[in-house]
Subunit: 415 residues, 2 copies
């Protein structure tokens, strides 16, 4: 039997018998000929049938035997002629036309029908970009001696903040879904020095926004024996470059500057006060509109789609944040803005046991975490990248639901 | 400043000034000299100090400046002499001696003190083996055109079996933690043809066994356009070979036969009836003792640490299982036994919409899943490998808790 060819490989088989398989993306019955456009994981192939052929409908799964034949008007310059079609699975007509360049329905309908909508080549491509980006993330860290880990998603009382957690009935006890692997990845710096994890995190986010999900994929890294947060920023710059390089095989990507520009939080507020109608000085955080303005400023002044904002006030950062020794109200932490949105949060963490005892009102729920610090932890830090946000900003999509296969939020638990 | 060297690289710096950093694994104060054994992510390094030195205690985090000096009695043949030690973080003495070849405590104590116990080089190595195995899994599948996916861990009413699920309060509604990505990975065959996922799965396992956890890491793969389950077994054989090759850089691995021996379920029962004191014929499943005997048989008769058992009765397999067209009571499914334990379950799935409607008593909770089949799904199948079981069997460890960083079970929600 002839082995299966992918659509993308047909041009190298011109004049030969071929076997292809896939879904009928479009059936066009003209007076003198019937065309089937067959979609497989590589792309599209045109199949030519006699006009009277009993051609299967759209989304039917077919196997086609025929001869690869040059035709400048066919996609890729080749079509399958003298075709015999076997239907592997019948299909009901799809709820919308998958052959149109853009799906002719709004986001809620797409998400309701995700099992079919995701088959659209443009939607499918988004997740290929996400997968390539994750491969780039891992590749950089593997090359630097990091160890990949898998940590608990079911946790006891200790969480980073206590807010927005999902409750789980754990054999009659109350547990939570982990909001991040933060406490575990720090603990594991004590074991492996350098760790990363790619996995789901859970936030019972009560607001319906374009930037938040109840579950998303977090790309976490943490490393020991750093000088301060600037070593973490150097690592993140390398990681971003690796993710862009991997994604660049599938989509246009911004230039990754060898050094990402950085602005201190207080300096960012000065810029906003000077150049916009607002005066945010004294505020403990940046509003989304401020992040957008700063991103535009970085693009204008530094030609960069990325901008580090460093030195966020300690008052708004989690308990494990390391203060700036020179300015104890400021932290050795940073956000990375990417095209107007906060993409990454990171920084240096406290590493001395006594420092944790000083900042935790009630250390008891953190007993296991604190055991790592009691028994020696190096200066360390890390960061977390939201994969869905990354892909959305990279592809210029507004809503993180557009880069999530099956999103979960306040209103959505299916499909 | 001299850049940091790892312990493993010291032999290439003999005679040079070096800087190392890590944890004090052992402090030995002799009459004429004090030795520190410093542990970093690469291994161990011996540091020589004068006898009167105020040497830091075990698990202290230190940075050491000195001269790499050949000494055949030192680990790796090199030690750091003329050393100056800076303590980066003090440490309380560890709850057990981490410098002993084997930790001198039982599993419950190890698990209670995992943040420290995992630092033991022998324990740490297990997770390096796991990480390498996962990299091998991905590498084989990436090479075959698979797409990596991230699917919901919070699901509505539809689960594979309905049994042993954890309940979650999802914004006031009841949700479950996903027992596997099964239904999603099948749906995504309709999108990408070939998909894999590495992620946590959750089972509210009410029994305290050496083989079960409430959360484990599942290596899932699924592919379309197969002939039947035998194509899935061919893929799995490649994946296992890739995982073994990746792990072989860190540990001894069994030979991966180019073809893994396979025995039909009914034939396996005949073997057991003929060669053991038991007669399991007529039973719908294999008991753990049967799996152990069959594994020994495969090693004896075929020289293989792996054995496929095919054709399990339909009555004990999930609803999506494809029957054997020749013997409809048997399924086109398989288990892969590895050294006495079921490591992988897989097989061909139903792919026609009508077949699902025939087997599901109440299709309504599966509406989104069934949408994929209504709109055309190719013949497909896949498998799931339990990472912790894999690593335990590979390293000859009895209990999956020994290859889980922070296990979760009936009795354990911390650390």
């Amino acid at each position: 039997m002839i082995s299966r060819s992918l659509a993308v490989d047909l041009p190298s088989h011109v004049g030969e018998p071929v076997r292809i398989a896939g879904w009928v993306q479009r059936r066009r019955q003209l007076k003198s000929v019937t065309f089937l456009v067959v979609r497989d994981r590589s792309g599209l192939a045109q199949v030519v049938l006699p006009p009277e052929a009993d051609a299967p409908g759209e989304e039917s799964v077919v196997e086609v035997l025929g001869v690869a034949t040059a035709n400048p008007q066919a996609p890729g310059g080749v079509e399958v002629a003298e075709a015999r079609v076997e239907v592997l699975a019948e299909a009901q007509p799809p709820p919308f036309d998958l052959y149109r360049p853009t799906l002719p329905v709004g986001l809620p309908v797409l998400l309701d029908h995700a099992p079919v909508a995701l088959r659209h080549p443009e939607l499918r491509r988004r997740f290929a970009v996400a997968a390539a980006s994750v491969a780039g993330f891992r590749s950089v860290l593997d090359g630097l001696g990091f160890t990949e880990t898998h940590t608990p998603k079911l946790v006891g009382t200790a969480t980073e903040s206590g807010a927005n957690v999902f409750d789980v009935d754990f054999f009659g006890r109350r547990a939570h879904l982990a909001q991040s692997p933060q406490l575990y990845k720090q603990t594991l710096v004590g074991v492996f020095e350098r760790v990363y994890e790619v996995g789901p995190v859970f936030r019972a986010e009560p607001h319906d926004t374009t930037r938040h999900l109840a579950q998303y994929t977090s790309l976490d890294a943490e490393l020991g024996f750093i000088r301060d947060h600037r070593d973490v920023m150097v690592l993140l710059t390398q990681v971003i470059a690796g993710m862009l390089a991997a994604a660049s095989e599938l989509t246009e990507v911004p230039i990754s500057p060898p050094e990402i520009p950085a602005v201190h939080f207080l300096e960012a507020q000065e810029l906003l006060a000077e150049h916009t109608d607002e005066d945010p000085r004294g505020e403990p955080d940046l509003a989304p509109a401020h992040e957008r303005w700063l991103s535009e400023w970085a693009l204008r002044e530094h030609g960069s789609d990325f901008l580090f904002v460093t030195g966020y006030p300690m008052s708004k950062r989690p308990f494990y944040t390391h203060p700036d020794p020179e300015r104890p109200d400021s932290s050795n932490s940073f956000d990375l803005l990417f095209r107007g949105v906060e993409l990454v949060t990171g920084g240096q963490r406290l590493h001395r046991h006594a420092d944790y005892l000083a900042v935790l009102d009630d250390p008891e729920p953190y007993a296991s975490y604190l055991e790592a610090f009691a028994h020696g932890m190096p200066p360390h830090g890390g960061f977390a990248i939201g994969l869905e946000r990354w892909t959305a900003r990279l592809l210029g999509l507004r809503n993180v639901r557009e880069t999530t296969l099956f999103p979960r939020d306040l209103n959505r638990l299916a499909p």
